[in-house]
Symmetry: C2
């Protein structure tokens, strides 16, 4: 199996190394990842700038391609140029920090997997909730167990799955839950400061508290100590609103 | 009505001016937009850097806040800091270039509206297909007609709508169609070049051709000359795959 491994934290990060090692037992792994951290870049792609690439030997263990670009660029470029044949599986992570709830929308880790799904490969994003102890080796074993189950069950071309491992410093995960993505908001805040020239600037403060996430959601399951598995899609259509909008008179203004 | 207007092309662009003018007839408009073009940045937000802001007077017509950040930052910052009370409507655009099909995922224009929806306001993204003649004034009249229809029909808090105006150089739009977002892929390509130090770099080539978009999709309706209206959602859960995944043994590996 041809497997592409990428991430959004950067090619030298331990989460990627752990995922690469777990994937190498399943097939032939190609690593293409950003040369620097790309957190919260969402589904950015590089359109107007060149994408610089560089071959790197990571920790004396494997070769990969570091690119000066976004996580989604890594997958596009690997698919179109770097790999002789397209990957049969795209894995992204293991991200240092969870990607649940609306953070899924901001996540470069998930966007890289989504790009793999758009291009037609089954694609899985892996993230590890931060806590006391950060053990990517242990996290990778849980990722691998979930991945084995997904592969045994059959991942369709273009299928996209988001996996989150709970903070392992609290002990073993309580189990695996297949859950929805929450869309509960975050009460985040900015610090306002003034620069030496009198201009306002703002820093986003760290915020992890979701407002009333549903009990059956990824946010609650992860917080309760479960590994969360959420099937995602790249069709953003709100199907349940199509009929309502189709019933409206949308040329009311009679525009010329 | 308190209306926030933003875009991804930058605060000085004519598409934003046209949308600002159309919105000003409906309520009190606040403009917060990026200080430079932010195409294809998707749902990025600025987490690790400060967000610089600057008050600007645009073409002698209105004041706005230019920010060194992403389209989604504009909406978050306007909501949390710049506006005395949260907006009751968020409008993003008019983007120079269509945002249909999977380009919806890469679009900063759509991401800004999605951020408004996450925060709880009805939010609409507007984009204009490029063609021979670029007439944002005429495009804005069509946007306004669609918006009037949406408002008359009732936009719920957090409702997200993506509107595309066809190339107007071909004549009047044929009408308005409420359609799904296509997820058909794009056969895009990279040009490979070598820098003076022998390193490979790549340029993404322009590509607009979707592979087999469905007949009832935004891509086909826009290409056929219709204004497209697509309800979107920020819940990416692939609901139709939940039951399948829940039936798998995802702890098959028996991870420690």
């Amino acid at each position: 199996m041809r497997i592409l491994v990428t991430n959004d934290d950067g090619i030298l990060e331990p989460g990627l190394r752990a995922l690469q090692a777990a994937a190498a037992e399943l097939g032939e792994v190609t690593v293409v990842a950003p040369d620097s951290p790309q957190s919260a870049v969402g589904h950015s792609i590089t359109v107007l700038d060149p994408i610089l690439t560089r071959r790197v030997h990571v920790e004396g263990r494997f070769w990969g391609t570091a690119i000066r670009g976004r996580p989604a660029d890594c997958v596009k470029l690997a698919w179109r140029q770097i790999m002789a044949e397209p990957p049969e599986l795209v894995l992204s992570g293991i991200n240092a920090g969870s990607n649940v709830g609306i953070n899924v929308l901001y996540s470069g880790t998930v966007a890289a997997a989504a790009e793999g799904a758009i291009l037609g490969a089954p694609s899985v994003a892996f993230s590890l909730e931060m806590g006391g102890e950060i053990d990517f080796q242990r996290a990778a074993r849980h990722c691998r167990a979930v991945l084995d189950g997904l592969l045994a069950g059959g991942l369709a071309p273009g299928e996209l799955v988001n996996v989150n491992i709970p903070d392992l410093s609290a002990g073993r995960p309580k189990g695996v839950k297949v859950v929805r993505q929450s869309i509960a908001g975050i009460d985040d805040t900015y610090q306002r400061r003034t620069d030496p020239r009198g201009r306002d600037y703002y820093w986003l403060e760290e915020a992890y508290d979701f407002r009333d996430p549903p009990a059956d959601s990824d946010v609650i399951a992860l917080r309760s100590g479960y590994i969360t598995v959420t099937p995602l899609q790249v069709d953003l259509t709100a199907s349940n609103r199509l009929a309502h909008l189709a019933g409206l008179d949308l040329q009311a203004g009679g525009a010329p």
